[in-house]
């Protein structure tokens, strides 16, 4: 007679319907939470990408033609005693990511639609319109380039936590590049003579933008995924991205009768605060690693100097843009000083020296 034949029929498949060994084991028990209890983000994220140090008993069972396994620690110059330590401070998993992104695009739609309904673009200062057309139009390509580099970088990380933080960063960058593209396209419908092709032309040909383009292409050309993540969030963003967005657009727009553009750009500023926190946490772990911290600092200091030189040059080339609005409410020098302060604070947070090129 079978066991099934001897047992009483089940009345319920619900939790608590029977008590037996393991019947109350209702938490994922294979990782150490960062805090006292695992967060939902940790439950959704930790160990989904396995590795031989974490349960992958057979090792990676495929390799590339040159013998490199499916995931390799050698894909970055940084070393870690514990690649699994990192948790993204933003705690994003799919639902929170879509909620945040959806809230942003909904906010932007309301602002742009209502602004256009109110006829706001027609009251923008004409010289400001040209700034939007030429320079915000050029800048959208920089954001796109960063998004693409991050799409590439999210393949290489040794853990799911690192890769997902880079993936959501990519998603934010690509959304903002599209936000700017569609925003300029739509206000262009209300502005006679708005040239939609001008932004790309400036991006490719205007000497003012060639430093930025060189920096973006250099980041895209890097083969080390953490170098890319570092260069984007710890160097390019404070020295160029934030400088242009916060140090120019956000401050100058209102004086040109433009209340829409700062709202569009503000979303990217909030994105950056989140992505910066994620990146600083990771690189702080790398710089304070008990075994590899000092070597990691040397590598990161090298990245810092290299990209700070590129991005500092790119920022300086942009200086004439600050002179183009009719009403001048912000000085390039002030924006640059704020940018240098930001850079210094970031370096301090991850245990690096501020780059020599900024001294």
């Amino acid at each position: 007679m079978s066991v099934q034949g001897e047992q009483s029929p089940l009345s319920s498949g619900a939790a608590g319907a029977a008590v037996f060994p393991g019947s109350d084991s209702r938490k994922f028990n294979y990782f150490e939470p960062k805090g006292r209890k695992a967060t939902h983000y940790e439950d959704m994220t930790v160990d989904v990408q396995p590795d031989p140090e974490r349960y992958l008993a057979q090792g990676w069972i495929l390799s590339f033609g040159d013998g490199t396994p499916t995931y390799s620690k050698d894909w970055t110059a940084l070393k870690s005693s514990n690649w699994h330590l990192y948790r993204a401070p933003d705690q994003e998993w799919e639902r929170t990511h879509y909620q945040r992104q959806s809230t942003i695009v909904g906010m932007l739609k309301n602002i742009v639609d209502n602004g256009r309904r109110a006829g706001a673009p027609s009251r923008f200062d004409p010289r400001w319109v040209k700034v939007l057309q030429d320079h915000v139009g050029a800048y959208k390509h920089a954001e796109y380039g960063l998004g693409k580099a991050l799409t590439q970088a999210q393949r290489y990380g040794y853990t799911q936590m690192i890769n997902n933080a880079i993936l959501t960063n990519s998603s934010y960058k690509l959304r903002f590049a599209q936000d700017l593209t569609l925003y300029l396209s739509e206000i262009g419908l209300d502005l006679n003579g708005f040239d939609h092709e001008a932004g790309k032309k400036h991006w490719l040909e205007d000497p003012l933008w060639q430093g930025v383009r060189e920096a973006i292409e250099t980041i895209g050309g890097a083969a080390d995924y953490l170098e890319q993540y570092f260069a984007i969030n710890l160097v390019f963003e404070p020295l160029v991205g934030e400088l242009f967005r916060s140090g120019f657009i956000m401050q100058a727009a209102a004086a040109q009768n433009d209340f829409i553009t700062p709202a569009v750009v503000s979303a990217a500023e909030a994105d950056y605060e989140q992505n910066l926190a994620n990146a600083v946490e990771l690189f702080q772990i790398m710089s304070s690693d008990a075994s590899h911290g000092e070597a990691n600092k040397l590598v990161m200091q090298g990245w810092l100097e290299r990209y700070a030189a590129l991005c500092g040059k790119a920022a300086d080339l942009l200086q004439p843009v600050w002179s183009q609005p009719r009403v001048k409410v912000v000085q390039f020098a002030d924006a640059k000083a704020a940018s240098a302060n930001r850079m210094a604070a970031i370096c301090d947070a991850v245990g690096l020296q501020a780059p020599l090129s900024l001294n």
Binding site: Q4, G13, A17, Y30, L62, T151, L167, E214, G220
Partner: protein, 554 residues
Amino acid sequence: MSGAMTLNKITQQKGIGISEATRRIADLGWTPSYVQEAMTFPTDYRIAKAPKDPMKQVLRSYFPMQEEKDNRVYGALDAALRGDMFRNVQPRWVEWMKLFLAIIPFPEISAARSMAMVGRLAPGDDLRTGFTMQMVDEFRHSTIQMNLKKWYMENYIDPAGFDITEAAFGKCYATTIGRQFGEAFVTGDAITSANIYLTVVAETAFTNTLFVAMPSEAARNGDYALPTVFLSVQSDESRHIGNGHSLLMSILNKPENHLLLERDLRYAFWQNHGIVDAAIGTIIEYGTKNRDKKKESYAELWHRWIYEDYYRTYMLPLEKYGIKIHHDDVAHAWDRIVKQGYVHKVAQFFSAGWWANFWRIDAMDERDFEWFEYKYPGWYAEYGAWWENYRKLSKPGSVPITFADTGYVYPHRCWSNLVPAVIREELQVDEVDGELYTYGSEVDRWTHKEAFAPEYQGRPTPAMGRFSGRRQWEELYHGWDMADAIKDMGFVRPDGKTLIAQPHLSFEEKDQWTLDHVRGYTIQSPIVNLRAMTPEARAQHIADYRKGFTIKRL
């Protein structure tokens, strides 16, 4: 409000059209002139034609659409709890979800990673928007599935197995098959893995059985959560199918790619058949309590989704571009399912090694027998005694069925897809680089020896992947006591002795197998033993293996 604006203008304010929007977004890209993009993921294909994005969707419509889909999913999960879904759910079904949901989040996130590999291969930026959305989609799939798994763990009667899920994924003798599937998306030639294997075959063909057919069976077992999550996942797949097809069209454009394309379509189709049909066929046919004779069997589902939908309407039209399609493989896969009992033999294997699992496998009963016999005439004669033995040996203290004198021969594993070589007559043995390997079929042998090699039909293929690692689970525990292996894998409940796996669905403590019940049995690796044989003994062993076996009724 502006005095110049009329009410009419306000209410009919025009935005930018979708075609123009996608054109301008694609125009965000440019050809670098200072530094070229790093091409770190190699391919042996040549791509010169810029692929087009067939979906023409932008992120500002994508994110709200996905949020709305999420709201429906999470709302439905809440409703399922309010409706006391678990009171009526079939444990036989939910137990198999411990296996399925341990596997699937990894292939999903691997698919996200693979978008990095195809993103830089083709010229132009049109399709990169599509790849971006697929990347975020796959992030969605992986974490929404983790959420579902956590939800089962919190609400289903037996959480053991869900609680160790990702640890179990890395150690189990069954999930190794799923790891082969997921790693194949992200390793080796970028087009082979991320385009042909993932999008052109797995997503276009086999997600229909994974994410459409299986949820239907879930609903028949009182599980409304799985269909809610997976049909939402499947709604993203059309975008991925579009991405895959668009890139495929760019590849087809160059005749020098045709040889590799034929290789990869053959490898990918056959391995998807081997892996997906093994796992999903077993879950649909053996994880259900519903024996409605009017519902489609897995074989019938396969014919609808793979043969009619994919083979006839997707694969066959590729012939007009000069691509050789292996019709014989499709016909053979069909025969394996209908005539050679592929799914039934895999289910038999899973139940033979029930103790190495981290989920329970329920015995089949008379109602099951009747349904199987109706859908697969001759089933009872071949498998009836096995399942009757399994039921008899489900009581703790019995000899574990693997070691009982039933006549069952523990199978060799296929080196290519890691599924055991359960269709005995098709076992292949060959040497590669001086080492002996076993395969489940001739195409599997060809996959390892010819397709996964540095040269294919005289053409150098340095980008092609390689099989690596300790691919056969049995090798890990060759010579180990069964109890020690189970303990080493961590497949023991919190009391330190009761097995997570059980060969029944009883929740009474007296019916639970413990480590003591399985001690004294030694695990053997078929390939280790095969390699140790003399040539004569090996030839005899292979001949005997191919003859198969007959199950003795205990």
